[in-house]
C-alpha cells in the first residue's frame, strides 16, 4: 500500500514537472536569474555598450543615437538579430511594465529621459500598450526635476511617483527588512525593469541595479547603516520585487565616481554607455569596476581603501540570497561600441 502511494506520488511529480517544462517552453519568457536559481546559467551576461557619438556635437544625448545604442545593448544581451525579438523575451502584450528610474540626482545625474523614452518606444513595438508602461520613482517632484513629464491618465505612457498613490498598508518582510511597498509596484506592475544610474554612493559604495529598489520601499533611511548590508540584498529578496524583476538597463551616459548619490558636476563624467543584464549582482559588480577605473584615473583611493567597498554584493550573491553572481569567472562581459 505504502509502495503504491510512493509510486503514485512519483508519477504525479513526473507528470507535473513535464507539464511545467511545457508551460515554461511555451511561455518563452527569459526569466530573471533570481527566479531561476536552480537553472542558473553558467555565466551571467553583462553588456556594456558605448557610443562615443551619443551626444553628437552637443552636450545632450541624441535620441536617435540612443535608440541605436539601446538596440545594440538588447541585441547583444539576448543574442537577437532584431531588437524587438530581444524585448519579446522579457515582456508580453497585456502586461504592465514598470520602469523604475532613479531621479534623485536632478537633471544632472538621474536616469536620462531620452533613454527612458527609447525604452518606452521599443516596449510599445514589442506589443505593450503605452498606458501599460509606468515610469516611476519615489517622488513626483523629483521625477519632474529630473526632466520627466508627469502623466497619470489617458492612453499614454504613465509617469508619476509613489507619493501619488502611496504604499501598501501591510509590511513586506524578508531577513532584516520590513517595509511597506509602493503600490505602483504591487498593484500596477507585472514586470519590472530597473533603469538606475551608474553612481558612487557614500554609504553603499556604489548604487546601480540593486540599490535602486530602495525607491520602492517606504523607509529606505532605515537601511543605510553598515554600508547598506545586508539590507540591499534583503530588499531585493522581497517577493513582490524579486518575482517582477526581469532586466536592468543601467544608464551610464553620465556617471559619478565620487560624492554620490547627489549630482556633483566635478565628480561626474560622460561614459556614454549603457550597461544591461538580467543578473543585478553581476551588473553592479561590473559597474563597480568601471567606477574604480575612473577613480584610479582621477587619483582617488579605491572604495575599499576608502572604507566603502560594496559589501552588499557578496551578500546578494551568497547561498541565502542567490540574487546573482559577483564572481567575475561566472560572468560573461560583452563590450560593444557603435562606430
Amino acid at each position: 500500500m505504502r509502495q503504491e502511494t510512493i509510486t503514485a506520488r512519483r508519477k504525479f511529480l513526473k507528470n507535473f514537472l513535464a507539464n511545467a517544462v511545457v508551460v515554461g517552453a511555451g511561455d518563452q519568457l527569459s526569466l530573471p536569474v533570481a527566479a531561476s536559481a536552480n537553472s542558473h546559467p553558467a555565466r551571467s551576461r553583462v553588456v556594456i555598450a558605448r557610443d562615443p557619438q551619443l551626444r553628437g556635437s552637443g552636450s545632450s544625448v541624441d535620441s536617435q543615437h540612443m535608440l541605436k545604442l539601446l538596440d545594440r545593448t538588447m541585441q547583444s544581451l539576448f543574442e537577437a538579430d532584431r531588437a524587438d525579438e530581444a524585448w519579446k523575451k522579457i515582456v508580453h502584450p497585456g502586461q504592465c511594465v514598470g520602469l523604475k528610474v532613479n531621479s534623485l540626482g536632478g537633471r544632472g545625474l538621474s536616469s536620462n529621459p531620452v533613454l527612458v523614452g527609447a525604452i518606452c518606444e521599443r516596449l510599445q513595438q514589442a506589443g505593450i500598450r503605452a498606458a501599460d508602461i509606468v515610469v516611476w520613482d519615489r517622488d513626483t517632484r523629483e521625477l519632474e526635476r529630473a526632466g520627466f513629464r508627469i502623466s497619470a491618465s489617458g492612453n499614454q505612457v504613465q509617469c508619476f511617483g509613489t507619493d501619488r498613490v502611496g504604499y501598501e498598508d501591510d509590511l513586506a518582510a524578508w531577513g532584516s527588512v520590513g517595509s511597506r511597498l509602493s503600490k505602483i509596484l504591487t498593484r500596477r506592475c507585472d514586470v519590472l525593469i530597473g533603469v538606475p544610474v551608474l553612481k558612487d554612493h557614500d554609504g553603499a559604495g556604489v548604487t546601480m541595479a540593486l540599490k535602486n529598489m530602495y525607491g520602492a520601499i517606504h523607509n529606505p533611511n532605515k537601511y543605510h547603516p553598515n554600508g547598506c548590508d545586508p539590507y540591499i540584498a534583503d530588499v531585493n529578496m522581497l517577493p513582490e520585487i524579486r518575482t517582477r524583476m526581469r532586466l536592468t538597463i543601467c544608464d551610464a551616459t553620465t556617471a559619478c565616481y565620487e560624492g554620490g548619490p547627489a549630482y556633483k558636476p566635478q565628480y561626474s563624467w560622460h561614459e556614454n554607455a549603457l550597461i544591461a543584464s538580467q543578473d543585478p549582482v553581476a551588473l553592479d559588480t561590473t559597474g563597480w569596476q568601471i567606477i574604480e577605473r575612473k577613480r584610479a584615473q582621477q587619483g582617488l583611493k579605491t572604495l575599499e581603501a576608502d572604507g566603502r567597498a560594496p559589501r552588499y554584493l557578496s551578500t546578494a550573491a551568497d547561498p541565502r540570497h542567490r540574487l546573482g553572481t559577483n564572481d567575475p569567472q561566472r560572468m560573461e562581459k560583452v563590450e560593444t561600441a557603435l562606430a
Binding site: 534623485l104 497619470a152 508619476f160 509590511l171 505602483i184 504591487t186 557614500d202 533611511n221 532605515k222 547603516p225
Partner: protein, 409 residues
C-alpha cells in the same frame, strides 16, 4: 484599557473616554479630510481624530497642497556639523549619521539640502490626542490630569515590537499632517484643560526643535511639558532640549547591548547615560521596561536592571514593567504572561526599589502606589483612571513618609 508598549503609547489604543483612533493614517490629505483634521485639532472636543482611508487602488491622486509644498515645516536643524563636499554629520543622537546632499538621516525626517541640514517636521503634527497622563505612563507626575499629546513622523531607532511603527517608521510626507505652531499647541492644551503637553507616540528626539519651541511656548502660557522618549540622544541635545521640559519618561528597552543592537537598532550605553544626566538635572524621571517574552525576561537581566537603577537613578525612581503585545516585526511572540511581570516586580522590589509597577494589565494590584514605609495604599488605579488618591502634600497620610513626585499642578 491601558496599552503603553515601549512606553510610546499607541494613539490608536485609548481609554474608555478616548475610544477612537487618533493617528492620521492614509494617503493624500483631501480637502474634506483636512477640514476635519483642522476642526479636530482646533476643538479637541473628543480628543480624537478620525482614521483616513487609503485609496483602494494605485490610481494616482491629484497633487495636494501639502505634498506640493512642505516649506512651512522645514527649519534648519540645531544639532549638526558641516563637512566637506556638502555633507553633514548629525549630532542629535549617538548614531551620528553622516548625510550626503539630498539624503536623509536614519530617522527619515532630517534632510541635507545643499550642505545645510533641515528638520522636515517642525510643527508637522501627524497625531494629536488628549490622554490621561497615566497613559504615558507617568504615575508620580500630576496624576489624574490630561496631557495634550503630539507627535510627528519618524524615529531614530527601529524597535521590532513598535506598536506605532506606522508613524514612527514613516517619512513625514507619507503621513497626513497639520501645521500646528508651538503657540497653537499651548493654546489647545490650555483650552482643553491640559496642564501639560506630552511629546510622545513616535520619538521626540527626532522632532527636538519643535519640542524646544513648544516647551517654551507652553511655559509662557503656564503649561508644562513632559517627554516620552527612548533616551537615545547626545548629551548636548539632551541638556538643551529636555532641560526645557518638566518630566521625562525613558523607555529602557533592555539591559543588554545585544538586545539593543538586534531588536532596537540602537545602543544601551547612551540611554543609561541619559538617565543619569536627567537625574543630575533634577528632572522628574520615570522608567519603563517593556518585557518581551524570551528576549529580555530573564531573572539576571531584571536584577541587573534594578541594581543599576537603584545605584544610578535612586530607589525612588518609578520603574514600570509593561506587558508586550505582538506587533510589527515581532508577531511571532506571545503576550507577556502576567507571572513574568510579577517575577520582574518581585526581583526589583527585593533589590530595594520603592515604586515598581506593572503596566498594560488593567486592574492588577501593582498599578497602585503603596507607601514604601508603612505599606498603605496611597494611589489606587484602574487602568488609566485614578480611583483613590490619598497622598497629601507629598506625604503618606498614615506615616508621613515623603512620597516623591509632582502630585499637584
Amino acid at each position: 484599557m491601558s496599552l503603553e508598549q515601549t512606553g510610546h503609547e499607541n494613539p490608536a489604543l485609548a481609554g474608555a473616554d478616548f475610544p477612537e483612533r487618533a493617528r492620521l493614517a492614509g494617503a493624500p490629505v483631501l480637502p474634506d479630510r483636512r477640514s476635519f483634521l483642522r476642526c479636530a485639532l482646533c476643538v479637541g472636543a473628543a480628543g480624537t481624530l478620525g482614521t483616513l482611508e487609503q485609496p483602494l487602488d494605485a490610481t494616482p491622486a491629484a497633487p495636494t497642497a501639502q505634498n506640493r509644498d512642505d516649506s512651512h515645516f522645514t527649519v534648519e536643524a540645531r544639532f549638526y556639523e558641516k563637512l566637506p563636499n556638502r555633507r553633514i554629520r548629525c549630532k542629535l543622537c549617538p548614531r551620528e549619521c553622516t548625510v550626503g546632499d539630498r539624503e536623509r538621516g536614519y530617522c527619515g525626517v532630517r534632510e541635507n539640502r545643499g550642505g545645510t541640514y533641515y528638520t522636515l517636521v517642525h510643527s508637522r503634527v501627524c497625531a494629536a490626542h488628549i490622554d490621561p497622563i497615566e497613559k504615558k505612563p507617568f504615575f508620580h507626575y500630576l496624576p489624574g490630569t490630561l496631557a495634550f499629546s503630539v507627535a510627528t513622523a519618524g524615529c531614530n531607532v527601529n524597535c521590532k515590537f513598535c506598536q506605532n511603527w506606522d508613524i514612527s517608521q514613516a517619512r513625514p510626507e507619507q503621513l497626513p499632517a497639520e501645521y500646528v505652531a508651538p503657540q497653537r499647541v499651548a493654546e489647545l492644551a490650555k483650552q482643553n484643560r491640559c496642564p501639560s503637553i506630552a511629546y510622545t507616540y513616535s520619538e521626540p528626539v527626532i522632532f527636538i526643535e519643535y519640542l524646544m519651541d513648544t516647551a517654551d511656548a507652553g511655559h509662557a502660557a503656564g503649561i508644562r511639558s513632559v517627554v516620552v522618549s527612548n533616551g537615545y540622544i547626545q548629551d548636548k541635545a539632551l541638556r538643551e532640549a529636555y532641560g526645557r521640559t518638566d518630566a521625562v519618561k525613558i523607555d529602557l528597552k533592555s539591559f543588554s547591548e545585544s538586545y539593543y543592537r538586534q531588536v532596537v537598532s540602537g545602543e544601551l550605553k547612551p540611554v543609561l547615560d541619559s538617565i543619569v544626566t536627567l537625574r543630575r538635572m533634577g528632572k522628574w524621571l520615570e522608567i519603563v521596561y517593556l518585557v518581551v517574552p524570551t528576549l529580555n525576561d530573564g531573572d539576571a537581566e531584571f536584577r541587573d536592571l534594578a541594581r543599576w537603577v537603584k545605584t544610578n537613578a535612586g530607589a525612588d525612581v518609578p520603574l514600570h514593567f509593561t506587558r508586550f503585545h505582538p506587533e510589527y516585526l515581532l508577531k511571532n511572540l506571545p503576550i507577556t504572561p502576567v507571572p513574568t511581570l510579577e517575577r520582574a516586580k518581585q526581583i526589583a522590589d527585593a533589590e530595594g526599589l520603592h515604586y515598581v509597577y506593572i503596566g498594560n494589565v488593567p486592574g492588577h494590584p501593582a498599578e497602585n502606589t503603596l507607601c514604601p514605609k508603612c505599606g498603605h495604599m496611597l494611589v489606587q488605579r484602574m487602568g488609566l483612571e485614578i480611583t483613590q488618591m490619598l497622598i497629601d502634600k507629598g506625604e503618606c497620610p498614615f506615616c508621613h513618609q515623603p512620597i516623591p513626585g509632582i502630585w499637584h499642578a
